[in-house]
Symmetry: C2
Subunit: 195 residues, 2 copies
């Protein structure tokens, strides 16, 4: 378990090959078995494999980010999304063959945390299956944007739900199709012991 | 991996036995290797094993919850914490021998999500080691409470950090010391396919 946890890496370059249904089902199942606040089980997994929809989501996000203004103390990755979109070239989902969007009830206090646990489970499961994956935050940042919200509802999201994260999933675009798992610097994440 | 993910359960009854250092270190390492927004690595793990401190945290939380008023549409688990505390008998951490508190920068947009990923990794690692664990939200709900905030700073939390979750960890209080892993109903967590 620790080996699988420590060898997981964010993967941002995907082959166009689709993910076999059997593997995809295992990744989704891993997400569904994540814990939830009070066993609420309200995470909604929206699994997008349709290439036209993926292209449309990419274009819509780019257009909406391009309209936004950069503010002081803005989250640095959001600043990057806005800047790249204004420059006209931005693909938030890295052209992954599968995008698993995690939505949850907007008025539920554990919505972000529950989606994060589901996403972490799916990232670990993907790693165990030699698939690459990366956490995608862009649709969460746009989750009250009217254009993106309307599109998400069109895809099956309920009126009282919002997006709290997503996972780009696929085969790594490397020679052997395996994610690169270089040694990782872990000098952050301080630990304080109270003995 | 899927077996370990699917057999994880929230465990709320702990033996008083401490967790051997070697196992505890593996759980913490699993948490430290969780992904973070922009590889920020700012999760701060505060590992409390001191029995006096654990008792003090329990008493302080109970006192502070007892002062709170129940509001409309309040998160149901928070309502329970307040009600039980007003009734004078409430142990938010289930008398676990180890409480791992996850803090993060208060002005960082991915603080809750990063802590959730770290907690999920630790829950899975605990399960792989036959330890029991359960997500603890109470110190997050009180993370702007002056009494709890002052105590957390005394325990080593930085001024710009807040608590976004915690893990109660220990041996299950069952005959064999193993967590009970009954079949789990997973009728929630709807999946929508966009093919």
């Amino acid at each position: 378990m620790l080996k699988l946890i420590k060898s997981r890496r964010s993967m941002r370059k995907f082959k166009s090959d689709s993910v076999p249904e059997e593997l995809l089902n295992q990744v989704i199942e891993a997400g569904r078995y994540a814990p939830s606040g009070g066993n609420n089980q309200s995470t909604h997994f929206i699994v997008v494999e349709n290439k036209d929809i993926l292209r449309e989501l990419k274009d819509l996000a780019k257009e909406e980010f391009a309209k936004m203004q950069i503010e002081e103390n803005m989250y640095k990755s959001l600043v990057h999304s806005i800047t790249a979109s204004k420059n006209g070239d931005y693909t938030f989902h890295y052209n992954c063959p599968v995008l698993i969007i995690t939505a949850n009830k907007k008025d539920y206090g554990n919505n972000i945390a529950d989606c994060a646990c589901a996403l972490e489970n799916m990232m670990l499961m993907a790693n165990a299956l030699d698939l690459g994956s990366v956490w995608i935050n862009q649709l969460r940042w746009l989750n009250e944007n009217p254009v993106i919200l309307a599109k998400m509802k069109e895809l099956g999201m309920a009126d009282d739900e919002r997006v709290y994260g997503a996972l780009a999933l696929g085969y790594a675009d490397t020679e052997d199709g395996l994610p690169v798992r270089k040694p990782l610097d872990r000098t952050g994440n301080v630990v304080t012991y109270v003995k």
